[in-house]
Symmetry: D2
Subunit: 338 residues, 4 copies
């Protein structure tokens, strides 16, 4: 960490700052310039509160040189993490597709969709049982019943299941869930991150709507600090001023994260665009960007099917998409099983 | 709610959509135009999923006419809500200041600060016991000990206390806390909102970094739907591209919220700017914008005091600020007790 | 256009609004609801000031149904526009790559780079002669000399040239330039748009850093309203809170624009990310998203080459990239000549 | 400027970088750390291209210590600039209000509004003659006729006039205009900035919708580098995700700019919010934040008056606002003449 101190500051203030840093167990290298003095902090600066220091009157600027994350950092773990679950691999040179309905609605629905996505090449089943909804008056999911139906679909198809956890108090219901999803709105629900980190299960961590990639890595670090290193990162669109798509899918996140971390990165083209016909181009774009996989919404609703829309694809559209995704993934050197 | 349907859609698709809406218990008024057809939905549209409908292929646009919140809506509750706690009032024509340290650090610290802010005119004491930190390696607060010290400071000074709740599992510790704060990162932690709504206590709800004002009102609605109508809204800066301040304080939120809701609105000039010397101008600006109060960080740390900085004010700076805030609040017709 | 009027408004105010709309030559259909009244405006609403109407006290909301652009609108021109320049085609089922240095620096530099990019498959040469720089003290380009050097490189290689125009007063110097580029900072310099529209030349219009896709189309409309329909749109990253990349490349813009307009859309992966090693993944992602081409920075600077960085690729990196881009473009059904 | 270089870089690359910096006329201080090496650049770094250096592969981070602006920098010019025009002062301890219609529409309109705003205490008259409009089909202003009408209103009332310049080619028409306004969309139209800098007239420079405060100061620097130091900065709202107001007024810009520059700063509450009833609270908030003045839209349109809305105030509303603004400005120690 580098701290630039104004030369206008009093000696006493300067000494206080240096002493304070040393109390944190760090060494300080001082180099005086004409208008300012640069302090180089040597040692483990991950505990230093950058905001606090940068807000001091005598401080011109503060800059981290070392990243504040360790377990998630590629510098210390150069080899790609590969998460294995039920015979499926996520990360490394694998390309993996998770698919399923937005919400679990009934036994026939989830089993039918599960069979369809398995046939098309998906190796994990997603489905919402607990749904985070902006409005308290909106449908909040089938909850424990939904979890039960997902487990039936798993039994029927062999597909491991991914579903979202909203609260520590529901954790008991998730003991047979294969991958626990932490949604965008809970990316900085640190108490929840600590608890899922204790389960040792694979965690699918979605980027918050207004969170930087560094914050995403810090949230992964929360989980990994509890000993759970099976974290899968997911980019699902960020909030910007643009309104033609629901959110702005930040695909540059893929190469940026790949450089910083060894964790797998998958893309959610369904939620980010919010529009079914954009799912295919953005899925192919994700493959080009170097992603390790996709999580895609597939529905099976005859009424919705007639309207032919929504952010979900129907099984035929999904199957057609998988053909194109597979061909492109092979072209960029990924292993696919479809 | 208004739905604009493309005239290019097939009759069958159109009928499906209309039928679907009627199944939700709503009436539909159809008016055909040259290029598109407008459906007017009559009835309680708060349960209609706008995202789903707008993503249908045959739909051009969807627009809500009614706001999706009710309890928080000024249309149905025109009179300002005034929250009362320990003899202090927030809302209506009162101007109220909450002050205290960022974190509770020790008994002497919190009591000393409490006395200082009370003397200057603050009527509520804030202080963090559970701290949400981006890094798992950063200080996470004194936790239950911190709550205990806040209660001692309350005993000593009579000031009611405000402190942040991070998890449902800590709720037992908050039974003597006067106002429960829900932080920006948990604004859409819906399970937490439901639980605090059941306490019946006053809730200080901070706007999320990337949340719209309508989403803030929907989160208030979560609390109010549980029967707890004592919600205080707090603007604390949003995330933008600007870097000279930590966040961008959105003061237009004050008149915008005042128009939409009867709930009190206070401003946090400390966290939003992140810079002590900007706290005074932004506090005075808040008064001008019509806010009902302020929540301000005041510290009592001799070392930090020597550096004379951070986002916290020292007691002298706070006292000086209060004089100016009081004079300006009177000028705009607010009642102040300082 | 749909206007939702509050039922609380006085009859006189309502009549004034309706009369005012009729004076604009539009028909008004009125449908009264319980809490509000919906006005449907029929006719050419492109001249109606949406901002003005939505700010009226009696108006709840305003929504356009028709897009405010015509010449750029796919509804009225369903067939893809293909821009032809010097034997090269941009748009339709072609995939086209524009390449060259950020700034023209010397005759040998521009000619050497031109030869290298031509060999690798680029069919247009880019190079900055007039450079928009944030600082008045930074290098502003070789100006007219730079244009001359670009023309020499064209003579030498046969590649048509693309270069940026900053001011109407430089227009004379651009008479032999093949494609005039309007940069992001000038996307809403409407006087400049009008003037380039009068040249009849192909115009490469870059999206502004904080401009919506609809605003981009409105700026294209400015050029097309002058009779020039050869507009090429370019996504080059938008400004967000993320800092790991210089800007956030919005690739969802490709399918979103393709739906709304018949104009070709190309991507600039160099400026958007600002980092050389991200150019390849984002180029491949652009192909996947369905873009019509790329504009890529290629340099030829031995010193910079040693450092092996910057947002520019060296000729070897560019050549390697082109092989991958070509293979992927063919996979998605595009014609490539490399 | 500080450059952090990775220790993994080759000696040859490192030497190249150091040599390159020295070629720019700068001294380099090297301090080696365990994981990285810090280069301190001494000398005039305003010409160094930070983007270029930060994109080099061997570079971890780059940080400016000195601001890249000089003429606008308070460090070198600690005393507030006071712009004087026609007996009115802007800056220092003065509080000044500019008012007038959005567009000049007719002789009677502009003269009537001019008289009304003068009576209420405004000392400068604003009015648009050349209007930047998103749509080519929208009214683009009365142009030269509009300038003529503004000059008549000036003759009639003595109020100096402020109006927006869109293009260098219109500059001749502006020779009798007192203050030339550069609009938000042209904040980085650098050719236009250079030309207005040559006029020596006071320039009202509006912040771009997505421009940082540092970029605003760099654009002021463009004007000042031409010898014109009478620049007035104007905050008018930035683009964010929030939709309840047209833009997000960034009032923290006032103390942030006051610290960095000696130039006067005024606020435009009309355009930023886009809603007439928010003009009063945001005007008072601007006074609290420490602004040097306001620019407010006042109309005189009987039809619009009946609807009682739009972002413009009518003369009565403006007069009432001025009373409150004056009282508050005095309270914060500003001189007002109303």
């Amino acid at each position: 960490m580098i701290i630039v101190v104004k030369n206008s500051c009093e000696q006493q203030q300067f000494n206080n700052l240096v002493e304070w840093i040393k109390e944190l167990g760090l060494d300080v290298h001082v180099s005086r310039g004409e208008q300012s003095t640069v302090l180089g902090l040597v040692g483990d600066t991950s505990k230093v509160d950058q905001d606090l220091i940068s807000s001091l009157d005598i401080v011109e600027q503060v800059q981290r040189v070392q990243e504040p994350y360790k377990n998630a950092n590629r510098k210390f773990h150069p080899v790609d993490t590969v998460v294995e679950v039920g015979g499926t691999k996520i990360g490394g040179d694998n390309f993996t597709v998770i698919a399923g309905p937005c919400s679990v609605e009934s036994e026939s629905q989830i089993i039918e969709v599960a069979k369809a996505v398995k046939k098309a090449g998906a190796t994990l089943l997603r489905g919402g049982a607990f749904k985070p909804r902006t409005s308290p008056y909106a449908f909040q999911g089938l909850k424990d019943t939904g979890i039960g139906l997902l487990l039936k679909a798993k039994e029927e198809t062999g597909l491991p299941i991914v579903t979202e956890l909203l609260s520590v108090s529901h954790l008991d219901l998730f003991k047979d869930v294969d991958i626990i999803q932490i949604g965008a709105r809970n990316m900085q629900n640190f108490e929840l991150l600590k608890e899922v980190g204790k389960t040792g299960k694979p965690i699918l961590l979605k980027r918050g709507l207004a969170n930087t990639l560094q914050e995403l890595l810090m949230s992964a670090e929360y989980i990994m600090a509890e000993g759970d290193c099976q974290v899968i990162l997911c980019e699902r669109g960020i909030r910007t001023f643009e309104t033609m798509t629901r959110n702005t899918l930040d695909l540059s996140a893929v190469p940026a994260l790949k450089e910083k971390t060894h964790l797998p990165i998958i893309i959610d083209p369904s939620h980010s665009t919010g529009i079914a016909k954009f799912v295919e181009p953005m899925s192919l774009a994700s493959v080009g960007a170097g992603a390790d996989g996709l999580i895609i919404e597939v529905h099976n609703d005859p009424k919705r099917a007639l309207c032919d829309g929504a952010q979900s694809l129907n099984p035929e559209q999904f199957s057609s998409l998988m053909g194109k995704v597979g061909a492109m993934a092979k072209l960029v050197g990924k292993k696919v099983n479809f």
